[in-house]
């Protein structure tokens, strides 16, 4: 029965997608330039530490690693590893932060990027898609609950900003991101 309902939803979805495609191309011009990258990151971090506290983790630095993607002076820095792993052009973004699980068997990965200008957003999005492909490859044969998270990954762009979320509750992080504007 669930399937039958699914098929009906599918048919509706196809129709809606066909109707909706004209209007979705319009960029969101209204958000002004005063949005600060650091505010977005700190809102997201608040959300993550709140969630971790609920799970009984007080010190986020023990379980999650925060990486400033602009910290590339040392050739072997973690920032450089991420940049190379995602096959990203470091010239394209003004700011970037990765919050990722360090050594827990956990697929959590949140990436926030601010492009130097809006033209570069599409190119940066490709790098995030590379990362998603790599996460899929890593997790599809391992822990099913973590792989669920990867499958629910969200990549969102808003103006010059990009958000990549692999997380237990991606909607919460998405909300923290959106509310920063």
């Amino acid at each position: 029965m669930k399937k039958l309902a699914g098929i009906v939803v599918l048919c509706m979805a196809v129709m809606m997608a066909a109707c909706g495609s004209q209007s979705s191309g319009e960029p969101n011009k209204e958000q002004a330039s005063e949005v600060k990258f650091t505010d977005i990151v700190s809102n997201i971090k608040d959300q993550v530490s709140e969630d971790l506290k609920a799970e009984g983790v007080d010190d986020t630095s023990q379980t999650h690693q925060e990486v400033d993607l602009k910290d590339t002076k040392d050739e072997n820095s973690v920032a450089n590893i991420w940049i190379e792993k995602m096959k990203m052009n470091p010239e394209l973004f003004a700011n970037g932060t990765v919050i990722a699980a360090l050594m827990n068997v956990n697929a959590d990965e949140i990436i926030v990027l601010e492009a130097k200008d809006e033209e570069q957003v599409a190119e940066l999005k490709k790098s995030l898609e590379n990362e998603l492909a790599s996460q899929v490859q890593t997790w599809e044969r391992y822990l099913p609950d973590q792989y669920e998270k990867v499958k629910n990954n969200k990549i969102i762009t808003k103006g010059k900003f990009l958000l990549y979320v692999t997380y237990t509750n991606p909607e919460a992080v998405e909300k923290a991101f959106n509310e920063s504007f």
């Binding site: 399937k3 196809v14 909706g20 590893i81 050594m103 890593t138 044969r141 099913p144 792989y147």
Partner: protein
């Protein structure tokens, strides 16, 4: 004539309609034992996902994953391909003597990047003995059993490329030479991408020699066949019902030895190197150390103070039971799931020996050795 038409129409309608009905009525499966992977469930519906196209893409995967009696239909395809003399199905060649082989693609830049990652790791672990073992897969050992005109790149050349590229103090273990010399033995599975315990034993002897230790002779082990119905990953891809199952042998030490195995820092513990429950499942190779984990620590009763760290893929799982008889502690790390600063871990744990164990096909595409650079 009219009657024939009616029959045709009925048969056609029943076939199309019947399969469609069966699909609608069948329960969704969460996991495919045959393919050893979770199956797509009905995707989440949201306006975002619909407009972005993610929803329809997922529905497509969902429908093909959950197709009723999928394995039956795919095996018809495999059989049909063989009948018309096709040499492969899903990139797996049908070789002679019941061997299935997977094509080795010419290595990409990822291989070079991985060599670079090892070089940078070596810079930070001076004074530690580092060994590398890159194993070929079966296609490199048995080119004579491949179908005519089958295309594959040279794994030996790829292994040599890595050995030449890596700068620093590392000793390479010549597994390829040892395995080629032992090709008359059952060193590779016919239906899976791994080596057998016999293959791992041959590599173990080569490794011991390089490490300056005396390997145990095969007389010191009782070789026991623990499975006769193993069908591995090549079988899942080729899906050819006429290919015979593999056997799995284990080498049980005749001498007394005991092990404590800790998985993912206390997540679970075993007192054996074998997780026997996997023999009841499709993925029987996970018998060895219970398959892939982030970090596995093995303490043995060999009190010689030697500590070995292994960066590895699943080829190591059949090899480690031999090595465990020579080291007091073995730390196995899977870089896919563990992103710690490993040079630091080596220092903290006062590890004297480090070993890389990968099969070259996996190594050439592995995206996680980069974590060794930090």
């Amino acid at each position: 004539m009219k009657r024939l038409n009616t029959i045709m129409i009925v048969v056609f309608a029943v076939f199309i309609g019947g399969v469609a009905c069966m699909n609608l009525l069948a329960e969704d499966q969460p996991f495919s034992q045959a393919e050893n992977r979770p199956l797509m469930q009905f995707p989440e519906v949201s306006l975002d996902r619909i407009t972005s196209g993610a929803f329809t893409k997922d529905v497509e995967t969902y429908l093909s994953d959950q197709f009723v009696h999928k394995r039956f239909w795919t095996s018809i395809k495999a059989t049909a391909q063989k009948v018309v003399l096709k040499k492969d199905n899903n990139g797996v060649y049908f070789g002679e003597d019941g061997y299935l082989f997977e094509k080795f693609e010419p290595p990409s830049e990822q291989l070079d990047a991985n060599s670079e990652s090892i070089s940078r790791f070596l810079e930070k672990t001076k004074g530690v003995s580092v060994y590398g073992l890159l194993a070929p897969t079966s296609i490199e050992i048995y080119p004579d059993k491949l179908p005519k005109f089958a295309q594959t790149a040279s794994e030996t050349a790829a292994i040599q490329r890595v050995e030449e590229q890596v700068k620093g103090d590392i000793s390479w273990i010549d597994a390829t030479g040892a395995l080629k010399a032992a090709k008359e033995q059952p060193i590779y599975f016919h239906t899976d991408h791994h080596w057998t315990t016999h293959g791992a034993y041959v590599a173990y002897r080569a490794a011991m020699e390089k490490m300056g230790m005396a390997p145990l002779s095969s007389d010191e082990f009782a070789i026991r066949t623990v499975s006769k119905n193993f069908r591995g990953t090549y079988d899942a891809k080729a899906n050819d019902p006429s290919v015979e199952s593999d056997e799995i042998d284990v080498f049980e030490p005749k001498f007394h030895v005991s092990y404590d195995v800790d998985i993912d820092d206390g997540q679970s513990k075993m007192d054996s190197l074998y997780a026997w429950e996997f023999l009841e499942k499709r993925d029987q190779y996970s018998l060895f150390l219970g398959g892939n984990h982030r970090a596995v620590t093995i303490h043995s009763n060999v009190k010689n103070g030697r500590k070995l760290m292994i960066f590895k893929d699943s080829y190591a799982h059949a090899l480690v039971p031999f090595l465990a008889n020579h080291f007091e502690e073995i730390y196995m790390v899977d870089l896919r799931y563990d992103h710690r600063d490993m040079a630091q871990v080596v220092k903290e744990k006062e590890i004297q020996d480090v070993l890389f164990v990968y099969n070259i096909a996996g190594f050439a595409e592995d995206e996680n050795l980069i974590w060794l650079r930090q």
